[in-house]
């Protein structure tokens, strides 16, 4: 395990490449989720993935993170294989908190090895405060509301020193105010050390505000890339009103609305 937490400098050397992969779940093998599917997500950029429910977004993330292996084809991502020195931080579609640990411990656990006990605690508390759970650090997951659990999971994903961040609908189940805060928070954190990020969402506004590359997957299996939009506006200070945004919004609405 590498101790150095990569910074922008060498981040450029990373990126995510799916090369002509195919994948099907054993018990639904008849219709594969992906077939001869290729995709490149540039390093040090935020790639947003949109697509109808059930099209394969979560599967895609699991393939990238290495939880699933493609039936054929080849996937490259920093920290995908156990033994390479990179690290991937994953935000699952469900909070996935350990029921038997307080929210704080839940975060410390993933940090310990990299930051040591003391810093883990500091970091955990720092990020929990950022997501507005400052006064709930000692609660057990069962004692939190749905959205609070989701935020705890977000704190964990952000706190973990990774080269690549994969997020599966991170801001679902959150109210507007929080969504906005967290979107800003993410941008703020992201510009510090531009880590390669993949962001699955259903919210077109999020896609516009966060995405450098926006991929829209097709419904039905196998999934394909329906559309690939690039947005070169600088992250900080993006608005939904800029005409790039409005123009992108139109295109996305046409595809998804």
């Amino acid at each position: 395990m590498p101790e150095n937490n990569r910074k922008a400098s060498d981040a450029e050397t990373f990126g995510i490449k799916l090369d002509n992969i195919s994948f099907a779940y054993p018990d639904t093998a008849k219709d594969p989720v992906f077939r001869a599917f290729s995709m490149k997500m540039p390093a040090a950029k935020v790639s947003v993935i949109l697509g109808p429910s059930g099209c394969g977004k979560t599967t895609l993330l699991n393939l990238v993170s290495g939880l699933l292996e493609p039936g054929s084809g080849y996937i490259d991502a920093a920290g995908r294989s156990e033994n390479d020195k990179g690290r991937i931080s994953v935000l699952f579609q469900e909070p996935r908190l350990l029921p038997w640990r307080s929210v704080r411990r839940n975060i410390e656990i993933v940090l310990n090895k990299h930051l040591g006990a003391v810093n883990s605690r500091k970091t955990a508390e720092h990020y929990l405060t950022l997501v507005g759970l400052g006064s709930f650090m000692d609660y057990y997951p069962a004692q939190l509301s749905g959205g609070m659990r989701q935020r705890a999971a977000i704190a964990r994903a952000f706190a973990y020193p990774a080269d690549t961040i994969l997020m599966d609908e991170p801001f679902q189940a959150l109210d507007l105010g929080l969504k906005i805060n967290l979107t800003e928070l993410f941008t703020k954190l992201w510009v510090e050390d531009r880590r390669t990020s993949v962001f699955v969402t259903h919210d077109i506004n999020e896609a516009i505000l966060l995405g450098d590359e926006i991929f829209v997957l097709s419904p039905g299996k196998p999934a394909e890339i329906l559309e690939h939009i690039t947005n070169n506006d600088p992250h900080s200070g993006r608005t939904l009103e800029s005409e790039t945004s409005i123009e992108i919004e139109k295109r996305l609405y046409r595809l998804l609305g």
Binding site: S65, L67, R96, W100, I109, Y140, P141, A142
Partner: protein, 255 residues
């Protein structure tokens, strides 16, 4: 949904059912009429007092307690290790299961002689106890390991927790209820087996030997007195275990 019952209410009910049991005992004993078969509760109680005075009694009890403790601890360690192993690697499972199922299935009767040849009569009961308990615990733990939430394990894997961390933070807590459940019942069996084995191998100092001796002499009251001792012993042990179980925080275990 669970009906809430107050501690005192529970106590009362428990007391009643215990009283009911004693009453039935008394009734049956009157009905049977002879002490050789079923003496009355009070007779047994008096006899209990009289044997408790004897110093040999306490030594015997001590010895049996030690045997059971050893037996359970060894079984626990073995069962835990084997269970984790079998649950998490089908290779290990395939390797161990024949041996385990043999130990599980060989009748005590057949094993006890070899036990006597290998160990001193003092240890034979421990051996038999392990032979009986360890497979139960293994099965329980294995069950538990197979039941660990895959999603949490995935979490551990993606965040690159070391095997030991995944084990300590995810496997153990998920398996705990199974282990404790297993242990809870194992303890009861443990006492039974140890005492039974003591009756067969008759160490100098043992509750089982006491049982056997008084049975030889048709002192049923004394047999029952020893029985009461055994019952109290395992109640104590279960009580202690329950304290242990209670001490576990991480209670709100859903979400």
């Amino acid at each position: 949904m669970k009906v809430f019952t107050s501690k005192t209410e529970k106590r009362i009910i428990g007391f009643l059912s215990a009283a009911g049991f004693l009453f039935i005992w008394k009734f049956v004993s009157i009905h049977i009429g002879t002490d050789i078969i079923l003496p009355a509760p009070e007779t047994v109680f008096l006899r209990l007092l009289s044997i408790m005075i004897d110093s040999g009694f306490w030594l015997a009890v001590g010895a049996t307690v030690l045997r059971t403790a050893y037996g359970l601890i060894i079984s626990f360690v073995l069962g835990f290790a084997a269970g984790i192993g079998c649950g998490s690697s089908s290779k290990i499972d395939a390797l161990l299961s024949p041996i385990i199922s043999i130990t599980r299935t060989v009748p005590v009767m057949s094993i006890i002689l070899l036990a006597m040849i290998w160990f001193s009569t003092d240890i034979v009961p421990v051996f038999v106890c392990v032979l009986m308990i360890f497979p139960i615990l293994t099965a329980n733990v294995k069950q538990g390991v197979k039941g660990v939430d895959r999603k949490l394990v995935e979490l551990g894997v993606s965040y690159r927790l070391s095997r030991t961390e995944v084990f300590r933070e995810i496997t153990v807590p998920s398996v705990m209820p199974f282990i404790l459940g297993g242990l809870r019942s194992a303890i009861g069996v443990g006492w039974k087996v140890v005492i039974a084995a003591e009756v067969l191998s008759q160490p100098v100092r043992a509750v089982g030997t006491g049982l056997q001796f008084s049975q030889m002499n048709l002192e049923t009251a004394e047999v029952m007195a020893w029985t009461v001792v055994a019952v109290i012993l395992s109640w104590l042990s279960e009580f202690l275990l329950d304290l242990l179980i209670k001490r576990r925080k991480w209670e709100p275990a859903d979400a």
